[in-house]
């Protein structure tokens, strides 16, 4: 029992585990938004392609990846439940209908490509193609709404910042999706996507500015944090990354552009996390320190995460290296 006593007495190695879990939570959310984000982006871009072969390439590009990417959301839910159970409970039950809207969109998005491939007649593929687009648009939109409602402590379903952040996230996933597809496609399709990427990026920047202005105006409590060095730095780095994305795309440096897209996602998530902290559920005034799970559970989970997350990283390296480079002729979903 001595080891249990040690684990119950205080945080492991005296580390600020509550804050680390807050950070880890948003890292997991950011990873989800970056990885599944390009799947959503591909789904949105699917609407802009009429050619059957091109549509097939889009589906083949995300085929091996999307399931693993989506698991980051499962891990986010699990980590939130385990580290901040009352936040998980309050937040999810408060945004009840929004949560099920997200789940519904994810079901549609996951199912649609599988169904699309089952039959090759036009009507069938037209409808499942639409379902794929709707699911891929709705999932990031509702996730953005959820994030904004969480941050601002909103108790109603639809809020202006919610809609703005929803659109912002959709635009970001398209930027992400283009960066990913430039790695996975060739020829005309790859060239055509370039302008889609620029347009999405422009929309993203405009929406970010609108959102920041909106939040600044509507949430006086957040103003001083918004002027903090970290937030200003992240906003500035968003501009730098956006410029980097454009330059890298022009120079056909696909991996650099993809990395810039990742940077954009993490900058956005970083801003949200910083604005939230030290609170974790502003609607009920709950702080990270008050909501964190008791010491023994916290220590055990920290050990678990420290052992398992490096392994998860290895799995993703194996998966992404097995399918590196553009999709080959004949590969399909």
């Amino acid at each position: 029992m001595t080891s249990v006593e040690t684990l119950s007495n205080g945080p492991l190695f005296g580390l600020p585990l509550a804050d680390l879990w807050f950070g880890l939570l948003f890292f997991i959310f950011g990873t989800f938004l970056f990885l599944d984000g390009f799947d959503f982006g591909v789904g949105v871009l699917f609407a802009t392609r009429d050619d059957k072969d091109e549509r097939e390439q889009l589906l083949a590009a995300i085929g091996p990846f999307w399931d693993g990417n989506e698991v980051w959301l499962v891990v986010f839910g699990g980590a939130l439940f385990a580290a901040f159970p009352s936040v998980y409970a309050n937040l999810f039950s408060r945004h009840y209908l929004l949560m099920f809207a997200i789940l519904g969109a994810l079901i549609l998005r996951g199912l649609a490509p599988e169904m699309y491939e089952q039959r090759h007649d036009d009507r069938w593929q037209r409808w499942w193609g639409r379902a794929f687009v709707v699911g891929s648009l709705a999932a990031p939109f509702f996730l953005g709404m959820f994030t904004a409602n969480w941050l601002l402590g909103a108790t109603t379903l639809v809020t202006l910042p919610g809609v703005l952040v929803g659109l912002t996230v959709v635009a970001l996933t398209v930027v992400d999706g283009v960066a990913f597809l430039r790695l996975k496609t060739r020829g005309d399709l790859r060239n055509d996507l370039q302008s889609d990427g620029y347009r999405a990026l422009a929309a993203y920047l405009v929406l970010v500015v609108l959102t920041l202005v909106g939040v600044y105006a509507l949430a006086p409590g957040l103003r001083s944090t918004m002027r903090s060095t970290l937030v200003l730095g992240l906003v500035l780095s968003t501009l730098v990354l956006a410029a980097g994305y454009v330059l890298a795309t022009r120079a056909d440096r696909y991996y650099v552009a993809f990395a810039a897209a990742a940077g954009l996602v993490f900058a956005l998530v970083g801003v949200v996390a910083r604005l939230l902290y030290p609170s974790i559920d502003p609607a009920v005034g709950l702080t990270v320190a008050a909501a964190i799970v008791p010491t023994l559970s916290l220590n055990l989970m920290s050990i678990g995460a420290a052992l398992l997350l490096p392994l998860v990283f290895v799995y993703f390296v194996v998966l992404y290296s097995a399918f590196s480079g553009p999709i080959e002729a004949g590969e399909s979903y």
């Binding site: 399931d67 499962v74 491939e117 089952q118 039959r119 799970v293 678990g304 398992l308 392994l311």
Partner: protein, 476 residues
């Protein structure tokens, strides 16, 4: 509008009942896929490549549906059972988080390699990916059942008031997570999954074997179906007797730890000794069906059988009746009949296993049309028995969500309105009906398209290993 408590319970029941089908398929198929992949790589015989690819397709579709329906469950603890999540979270959340990181990540990433990557990776990594996917599905069950077994048999915790709320604190992780109930649940569930998949495979292949040999309507790739049948029978012969054996031990454990549930399983109201076990029980009236009382029911029982089951060999043992427990009782009818039908099916599967094994031994496996028909009719019954088993487990512990600690009605989100809960319940009922229809449709298409053949097999120049059935099948 339905009451939010009732609607939340119905919705959780619906979403779990639908979801569990898919983990059963993936956990049950996993050992077969590992075996097919191994044989395919080692022997290079076309039939093993056919087996691997055909069953991988079914696995992949089941996995997708399992993923999308599984995420729903993980969120529902928060959306619909917020009070439970707040109270039990410090102990209950950990296993779910670990499940995601340890198991779900493993299976979802290697599934990509396993389904899409035969042409892209070497034999060794491909074999690793098959094992990793299988291991992931089973590890997933480990953590989910650790969480569930704690709800059945809560240990290693204390109740603490925190932020004005009653919260469960973990004090002894070994007691809480290395729960004796976990062992029985895991053994019973994993074996049941393999048994259910064996039954489904046997029933499906029996149809084609029957068509070819008995009905004399030649089937393409009959060797494929014959091999499938034999492999499925091996699975059944091993798992069916085991299921009955540890089912018996599990029931005894339930009696010791959840006597109220055991009493409901046997519909024993008054504490009694020498209680019979009704193997066959007939409701002689509607009242009997909806409110079974073991003493009044018409049945053929083993004298002292239930006592024997509960005590581990003493037919005189006393069984505590439901009347000894205060407060609301579990819905006895659902528990009693589900338990009965599940046990009966378990014995039927043992019979099927021995019957098929005997015919095979005599070299008459492909000729016994009655056996073929029995196997066909039993194809979905394994999964059905799993559902019944979960009804016994989950309905049987009502009114408790955490046995003896928290009532299910107390666990529901306090601010949830009837309108919201009804809306999502109706939405799920419609969406899952559609989902199941689509799943059935897709699996039927995969079956109709049959295993890949001819030039499509490896060895022949081929870049497209895992095409969809419509591209492989001749019907498109």
């Amino acid at each position: 509008m339905i009451d939010p408590i009732i609607a939340s319970r119905l919705q959780f029941a619906l979403t779990t009942i639908v979801h569990i089908v898919f983990p059963v398929v993936s956990m049950g198929l996993a050992p077969f896929l590992v075996y097919f992949t191994w044989k395919d790589i080692r022997t290079g015989e076309p039939v093993y490549e056919q087996l691997r690819r055909f069953w991988t397709r079914i696995f992949a579709v089941s996995f997708v549906v399992g993923t999308v329906t599984g995420i729903v469950l993980e969120f529902e603890f928060g959306t619909n059972f917020a009070a439970f999540a707040t109270t039990a979270g410090p102990l209950f959340g950990g296993p779910l988080a670990v499940e995601g990181m340890m198991a779900f990540m493993l299976e979802a990433t290697f599934l990509g390699v396993f389904v899409f990557g035969r042409e892209r990776v070497g034999d060794a990594l491909y074999m690793v990916s098959a094992v990793a996917v299988g291991l992931g599905t089973w590890l997933s069950a480990v953590w989910i059942l650790i969480a569930n077994s704690w709800m059945q048999l809560p240990r290693g915790y204390e109740m603490v008031t925190r932020n004005g709320e009653q919260v469960i604190h973990l004090v002894d992780p070994i007691a809480a997570y290395a729960n004796p109930r976990f062992f029985w649940m895991f053994v019973h569930m994993q074996n049941a999954s393999v048994e259910s998949v064996s039954l489904a495979m046997a029933g499906l292949s029996a149809y084609f074997v029957f068509r070819h040999h008995v009905w004399e309507r030649p089937v393409d790739h009959v060797t494929f179906w014959e091999t499938t049948l034999k492999i499925a029978i091996v699975g059944l012969v091993i798992t069916a007797p085991l299921q009955v054996f540890h089912g018996d031990l599990y029931a005894r454990h339930v009696y010791e730890t959840q006597p109220q549930k055991f009493a409901a399983m046997e519909a024993v109201w008054e504490t009694d000794s020498y209680v019979p076990e009704y193997l066959i029980a007939f409701p002689t009236s509607v009242e009997n069906l909806l409110d079974p009382r073991a003493k009044e029911i018409f049945g053929i029982g083993i004298p002292g059988g239930a006592s024997w089951l509960a005590s581990g060999g003493d037919p005189q043992a006393t069984i505590r009746g439901l009347e000894e427990f205060e407060g609301p009782q579990p819905p006895v009818a659902a528990v009693f009949w589900s338990f009965r039908i599940m046990v009966a099916l378990g014995f039927w599967f043992v019979t099927l296993g021995f019957w098929s094994g005997y015919r095979w031994f005599r070299g008459e496996l492909f000729a016994d049309d009655l056996l073929h028909k029995a196997l066909m009719a039993s194809a979905p019954l394994g999964i059905f028995a799993v559902e019944l088993g979960w009804v016994v487990t989950e309905v049987g512990r009502q009114p408790w969500v955490i046995q003896g600690v928290m009532k299910t009605s107390e666990g529901v989100s306090p601010d949830l309105t009837g309108a919201e809960a009804t809306a999502t319940l109706v939405g799920f009922a419609a969406a899952y009906l559609g989902l199941l229809t689509l799943y059935g449709y897709v699996v039927a298409r995969i079956i109709r398209a049959g295993p890949p053949t001819g030039t499509d097999l490896v060895g022949v120049d081929d870049t497209d290993t895992d095409t969809t059935p419509s591209e492989v099948g001749a019907d498109d």
